[in-house]
Amino acid sequence: MNLDIRLPIGMLFTIVGVMLSGYGVLSDSAIYQKSLGYNVNLVWGLVLLAFGIFMLLLGRRGTSSAKPAESTPEGRAIEQAEHQRGVEM
C-alpha cells in the first residue's frame, strides 16, 4: 500500500478544525447558549486542528506504513507455507 493512513486522517481533521474554529470566531455568540455558554466551535476546532496537523506530520515522516509480506521474516515464512499448501493466491 502506498498511502499512509495518517495523511487522510490528518487532512480531514485539519480541514474540519479550520472550518470549526473559523466559524467559532465569526459566529454570533448567541448560538452558544445551547452549549452552556462555551464557544465549543472555537475550542474544539483548535483541538481538532492540532490533532490533524500532528497526524499530517507523522504521516509525512512515513515511519510505519504498511509493509509487503516479503519484507518481514514472518511474512516470508507464511508465503512459504502458503506455497507448500497450494493455497497461494
Partner: protein, 571 residues
C-alpha cells in the same frame, strides 16, 4: 419530535468534506488493489494499530452506538457489562489464544478455517448463514439510518439510504478491504471527536458524576428500584428483580460474557477479518488487544450520554426530554441524536452528525467486506466456479460488493414494509450464532473433535436455541415473536434480556455436549492434518525478543487489570 433540526451551511460543509475524503481514500487505493488478496485481505499488509482500530470500528456501527446509548438510558451503568464483562475478556482471549490458528493457518476467512479444521459441510453451513446475515444486517442498518435522519433532519428516506449505499459501494469497489479499513480508522477518530464534546457538556450540565448520581437516584426510586440501581454495575445483580436489566449475575456472566460476547468477538468474520489482514502474526495477535484499550473507554462516550439523557428526562424543567413513541413509551433510540441536537450549536452539530453517519457507514462497510469475501472464497470459489484465475475472483469480489449492497438496499425497503419479518430473521440468526463459540472452542483446543461432531453440534445447538425461545417468554409479553410460539410457556423470564442470555446458554451447552458425544463416536482426523489448526499440535508463537509492550500476553494482562479496576470503581 416536534421540530426537526436546522442545519447551516457550515454543517453541510463538514459533512461534504468527510464524504470527499472517504471517496478520495477509495480512489487513492484503487491502483494498489491488483490481486484478490489485495482486495479481500489487504494483501496482509496492515500495521497492528490500524488493524486494531478497524477491528473496533467495524463493530461501532450505529446499531452499537444508538443501541448502547439507549441501554444506558434504560438500564444505567449496568450496560457497561457489555464492555467490561463481555467484550474485553473476549478480545483478550481471541488475541492471545485464537489468533495463532486464524492467522497461522492462512485461512482467508472464518468459514475457510472451519473447512481446514473440520469439513466441507461445516464450512458450507457457516458460510451461507453468515453471508445471509451480513446482507440483512447492513440492510437493517440502512433502514435505521434512513428513519433516524428523517426524524432528525427531515431528510428523505430514499435519498439517505441510496446516497450512503452508493458511497460505501464506491469506496469498497475501488479499494476493497484496505479502503474499508482505512475509512474505519478515520470513522473511529471522527466518532470520538464528535462524541467527546457531547459528554463534556452533558456532564457539566448535570453537575458531574456526583450530580448525575443524585439525579439518577430519583429516577431509580421512581422506577421502584434502590437509589443506586442506575449508578452501580454489580451491587444489585444478586437478584434479577432488583436491577433495571432484570438479569442476575449468573445469567450475565454465562449468557452475556461467556457465550454471546465470546461468540461474537472470536468467531464473527466481520471483526476477525481485520486481524487476518494484519502484516504479521504478532500484529494479528495485537489487533484485538489494541482495540480493547479504546473499547474500555467507550462506555464513557456512549453509555454516559444515555444516563445523562434519562436523568434530564425524569427531572421536570431540565429543558431536555427524550421523545415518546406512538404507544406512549420513551423512544430510547433517539438518545444520541437528541443529545447532539440539544447541546451542539451549528458547526459542532455538523461534526456530530458526520460522526453518526460515519458510524452507520463503518457498520455497513464491515458487513459488505465480510460478505464479498465469504461469497467469493467460500461460496463462489467452493461451489460455483473452482480453479478460475485470480483476476476472475478479484472481479467477482467487486461484483459481490455491488450486488451485496443492492441486496441490502432491497432488505432496507423490505423492512419498511414488513417489520416482523426482520425481527424474525434476527431471531433466526441469533439461534444460529449462539452455539458457534462451542464449536470453535472444541475445534481449537480438543484435537479429538471431528467434522461430523462439529456439524451435528451446530445444528443441535441451533435447534436448542429455537426450542428454548419457543417454550419461554419474557414477563408481560404474549406468545409470538417474543417467544412461547411452541406452547408452554415453561418459564417466564423477568426481562427479554434474561431470556436472550438463557437461550444462548442452552444453545451453547447443547452444542458443546453433542459435539463431544458425536466426536467420540466418529473417526478423528490424523494428527498430521491438524498441525497449525489445533492448540496441542501447534507451536506457540514466540514473542521473546519483542519489547514487553508489544507482547500479546503483557498487553492482555494490562487490559484485564484496567477492566478489573473499572468494575471495582463502578461496583
Amino acid at each position: 419530535m416536534a421540530t426537526t433540526l436546522q442545519l447551516g451551511f457550515i454543517d453541510y460543509a463538514i459533512l461534504a468534506t468527510y464524504f470527499a475524503l472517504v471517496l478520495g481514500v477509495g480512489f487513492a487505493l484503487r491502483r494498489s488493489t491488483k490481486s484478490s488478496t489485495d482486495f479481500f485481505l489487504s494483501g496482509r499488509s496492515i500495521p497492528a494499530w490500524v488493524a486494531g482500530l478497524a477491528f473496533l470500528s467495524a463493530n461501532l456501527g450505529a446499531q452499537e452506538l444508538i443501541g448502547m446509548a439507549a441501554s444506558g438510558a434504560k438500564y444505567g451503568i449496568s450496560t457497561s457489562h457489555f464492555y467490561w464483562v463481555g467484550a474485553i475478556p473476549a478480545m483478550v482471549f481471541v488475541g492471545i489464544f485464537m489468533m495463532p490458528f486464524y492467522y497461522g493457518s492462512r485461512a482467508r476467512s472464518v468459514p475457510e478455517y472451519l473447512r481446514m479444521r473440520f469439513d466441507e459441510k461445516t464450512r458450507g453451513f457457516n458460510a451461507i448463514t453468515f453471508a445471509t446475515m451480513t446482507v440483512f444486517s447492513s440492510g437493517i442498518s440502512m433502514y435505521a439510518m434512513g428513519l433516524l435522519l428523517g426524524a432528525l433532519l427531515g431528510w428523505d428516506f430514499h435519498i439517505s439510504v441510496l446516497v450512503s449505499a452508493l458511497i460505501v459501494m464506491l469506496y469498497i469497489f475501488l479499494g476493497g478491504l484496505t479502503s474499508a479499513i482505512y475509512n474505519e480508522v478515520m470513522q473511529f477518530f471522527l466518532i470520538v471527536a464528535g462524541f467527546i464534546p457531547m459528554v463534556f457538556l452533558g456532564l457539566r450540565d448535570v453537575g458531574g458524576w456526583d450530580g448525575l448520581s443524585q439525579r439518577l437516584a430519583v429516577t431509580a426510586t421512581q422506577a421502584g428500584f434502590a437509589p443506586g440501581a442506575y449508578t452501580h454495575a454489580w451491587q444489585y445483580m444478586g437478584n434479577s428483580a432488583s436491577n433495571p436489566m432484570g438479569v442476575e449475575w449468573f445469567g450475565l456472566a454465562m449468557g452475556l460474557a461467556f457465550v454471546l460476547s465470546f461468540g461474537y468477538w472470536t468467531t464473527d468474520f466481520l471483526v476477525v477479518q481485520r486481524a487476518m489482514a494484519a502484516d504479521s502474526m504478532s500484529a494479528a495477535r495485537r489487533t484485538p488487544l489494541i482495540a480493547a484499550f479504546p473499547k474500555l473507554m467507550f462506555p464513557a462516550l456512549v453509555i454516559l450520554p444515555g444516563m445523562i439523557a434519562i436523568a434530564l428526562t425524569t427531572q421536570a424543567g431540565s429543558g431536555f426530554s427524550l421523545p415518546m413513541k406512538p404507544d406512549g413509551s420513551l423512544n430510547y433510540d433517539m438518545t444520541i441524536p437528541m443529545m447532539l441536537g440539544h447541546y451542539f450549536p451549528s458547526g459542532l452539530l455538523g461534526l456530530g452528525l458526520t460522526a453518526l453517519m460515519a458510524s452507520f457507514m463503518s457498520g455497513m462497510a464491515g458487513n459488505v467486506t465480510a460478505f464479498n469475501t465469504v461469497w467469493t472464497y467460500d461460496i463462489y470459489q467452493a461451489y460455483i466456479r473452482r480453479g478460475a484465475s485470480d483476476q476472475h475472483y478479484l472481479w467477482m469480489g467487486r461484483m459481490a460488493t455491488i450486488f451485496g449492497i443492492a441486496l441490502s438496499v432491497v432488505t432496507a425497503y423490505l423492512t419498511t414494509q414488513f417489520n416482523n419479518i426482520m425481527d424474525m430473521l434476527q431471531l433466526v440468526f441469533a439461534f444460529v450464532n449462539a452455539p458457534l463459540f462451542a464449536t470453535f472452542l472444541l475445534g481449537m483446543f480438543w484435537r479429538r473433535t471431528t467434522g461430523h461432531g462439529a456439524f451435528t453440534g451446530l445444528i443441535a445447538g441451533t435447534l436448542a436455541a429455537a426450542f428454548h425461545h419457543g417454550l419461554t417468554l419474557p414477563r408481560g409479553s404474549g406468545a409470538g415473536i417474543k417467544g412461547g410460539w411452541l406452547g408452554g410457556p415453561l418459564n417466564i423470564y423477568p426481562s427479554e434480556m434474561a431470556q436472550n442470555f438463557w437461550t444462548a446458554i442452552w444453545a451453547w451447552t447443547v452444542c458443546f455436549l453433542v459435539t463431544i458425544i458425536v466426536s467420540l463416536a466418529t473417526r478423528p482426523r490424523p494428527d498430521a492434518e491438524l498441525r497449525g489448526l489445533v492448540y496441542s499440535l501447534t507451536e506457540r508463537p514466540s514473542s521473546a525478543g519483542e519489547k514487553w509492550y508489544l507482547r500479546p500476553t503483557s498487553l492482555g494482562i494490562v487490559v484485564l487489570a484496567i477492566t478489573l479496576v473499572l468494575n471495582i470503581i463502578f461496583f
